[in-house]
Symmetry: C2
Subunit: 367 residues, 2 copies
């Protein structure tokens, strides 16, 4: 058993659990900030620790291209490479490759795609995606899936779902045969007195069709994983549809395993989904919005570039306890952003991550 | 008396002194990092404090354009605006305007220049440069000078020096008549129980001519300032010439006043100049080089972009105690830089500043 998921309390659909990984224990429901290239853009790891981040998400596609799996493996895995001793989850690369649009070609065997960096040709199969994720060495890795485009005809969504199921079996088979190849399998585990290595989660697809989602969930559970994700969302569908698919799919996932919704959402959404019984979520929104000067506060969204903040001496969010709100004024943050100062990105990201983490803490404390 | 300069120890030319400003006591010789736009690019103020930075330099020209003097004055001055409670020095804008080359026009009255941002036309005179610096509210401000280009004919250098002397008198006159207008003159001073406001330093010019420099020094001292800077260096002259001008000019500056060399230099140079009796220096080199992946270490300069560091697990500088060297490998820093991650700039800047501050600490401790 590579992870341990222990539900401690629940109230209605929402539950409070402890997820034990080889790199520490996570309190769920949890939000996972995105550290695409082994870095949460602009924020040093000691600050991430201070923020109380329990688990980071890394993007397999990006790390595969830079610095490359072999480099990370040689350096002892992602944790050691980026000096982050808490949990990490890597996505399968499926969604990222899906985003390449015209640069990819899908077949039963896998996906041929061109690098967004230099146009070079690459191939991801369930097996090679697993090999990449084993080499990167995250605590939780994801089965290789096909993210169905939106909108999609029912037959197209079914065919895509069927292939994701076949890929899930191939992912699991490869993973089970190679799981001891994780870079820290011997040394770091010995130090921790544990035999845990990685955990592989399955991904439910099925487009925006509740019936296909139900079937995908049941058959993915039949294959058997220690955790399940709902993928294929945030692909352009209306927000209400996202909620409906999450709600209907959750019913068919085992209550005693972690349930992860990929790529969502706003602060209101992640709180809502957590209350619906989702345990894990990740999203680029807090970090990406920060880079565009869009800040989440207890008084609503703030676009810090606006001239109205130019001489505003008040903190960004008077109810926020982060080091940014404790020290700097809106006027200063506005000046940094308007002047293209790098510190704008650093401070904005620290604040937005705090807001997201506080949102999840509030959900947990409400129980 | 706005600052107090107390020499504590000396050995040969080098001396260890305490410079007391309205915002704290500075141990000299001191290196001042450059925070052009009220930010040391990429590094939060709490980290700057932790690094032991005693005094920051702000650029009047840049702050005048963004966020504008009126905004900073309204916000209570630079210290409050950027949340930095230690000392700040602003340059006069003269050197920055000098760097605009084709965008400026100099007359006896002052300099007309075009903004590098939007081409708008502006005018700096000794009086308006003083007004700007009083509004910004740094602890130490600089007389408005003309930075003589290199190379320059002797007659041109003399004419330029003579105008700088006339501008020094005008700067001093305006400053003395308006010194109580500094934004924190009442409130912050009352809190500190001090009547100190700003101090105005004079600037020695004279091109690369030792005789003109001597005359400029003597006549600037005759006008009378609480500190003296040697300006007009680092304008393309050979390094040996810089050293000679500093050495010969220092002789003519009073030993009981702080002596500041503007815009220098490499770690070796700042150590050398400190040992020659220079008390204060500023330079963009540590921060600018960091942004280009050029790092100063006890083993020499490291260009972190090089492929040889791709799998180098060792710290950047094994003898450095900074948080970057304590936590991250050369391989990780190389990856961040090669991937254009913003964290590269943040971490590289923290390290290079540490190296510069350690260099000055070593000079002080050698006494």
């Amino acid at each position: 058993m590579s992870i341990h998921f222990q539900i401690e309390t629940s109230a209605g659909a929402v539950r409070l659990a402890k997820l034990t990984t080889p790199h520490g224990e996570i309190e769920t429901p949890v939000f996972m900030p995105v550290g695409t290239l082994a870095s949460v853009k602009g924020v040093p790891q000691d600050v991430l620790e201070e923020l109380g981040i329990q688990i980071l998400l890394g993007n397999t596609y990006h790390l595969y291209l830079r610095p490359g799996v072999e480099t990370v493996r040689t350096m002892g895995g992602l944790h050691k490479f980026m000096s982050w001793d808490r949990a990490i989850l890597t996505d399968s690369g499926g969604f990222q490759v899906f985003s390449l649009n015209e640069l990819r070609k899908v077949s039963e065997e896998g996906v041929t795609f061109r690098s967004h960096l230099d146009g070079s040709s690459h191939f991801f199969s369930p097996e090679s995606a697993m090999a990449a994720q084993i080499g990167l060495g995250a605590d939780i890795i994801m089965a290789f899936d096909e993210c169905t485009e939106y909108p999609a005809e029912r037959e197209r969504a079914r065919a895509s779902m069927e292939m994701t199921l076949r890929w899930a079996e191939r992912s699991k088979k490869y993973f089970e045969e190679h799981t001891r190849e994780v870079p820290w399998a011997s040394s770091q585990l010995a130090a921790r007195g544990s035999q845990q290595t990685q955990s592989l989660f399955g991904i439910v697809q099925g487009g925006m069709d509740r019936e296909l989602r139900r079937e995908s969930a049941l058959r993915t559970v039949e294959i058997g994983f220690p955790g399940y994700a709902i993928g294929g969302l945030s692909v352009g569908e209306p927000r209400e549809m996202t909620r409906e698919i999450i709600e209907s799919t959750l019913e068919h996932l085992p209550a005693d395993k972690p349930r992860y919704v990929m790529g969502v959402g706003t602060p209101e959404e992640i709180a809502e989904y957590a209350r619906m019984g989702v345990d894990m979520m990740d999203c680029v929104l807090p970090t990406r919005a920060a880079r565009h000067g869009l800040l989440f506060t207890s008084e609503g969204k703030v676009s810090i570039k606006q001239a109205r903040y130019a001489q505003d001496a008040s903190p960004l969010d008077p109810k926020c306890g982060c080091r940014v709100c404790a020290r700097y004024s809106r006027a200063y943050l506005r000046h940094l952003y308007a002047s293209n100062e790098v510190l704008a990105q650093v401070l904005n990201t620290i604040h937005n991550l705090t807001y997201y983490l506080d949102t999840m803490r509030a959900v947990r404390h409400a129980i």
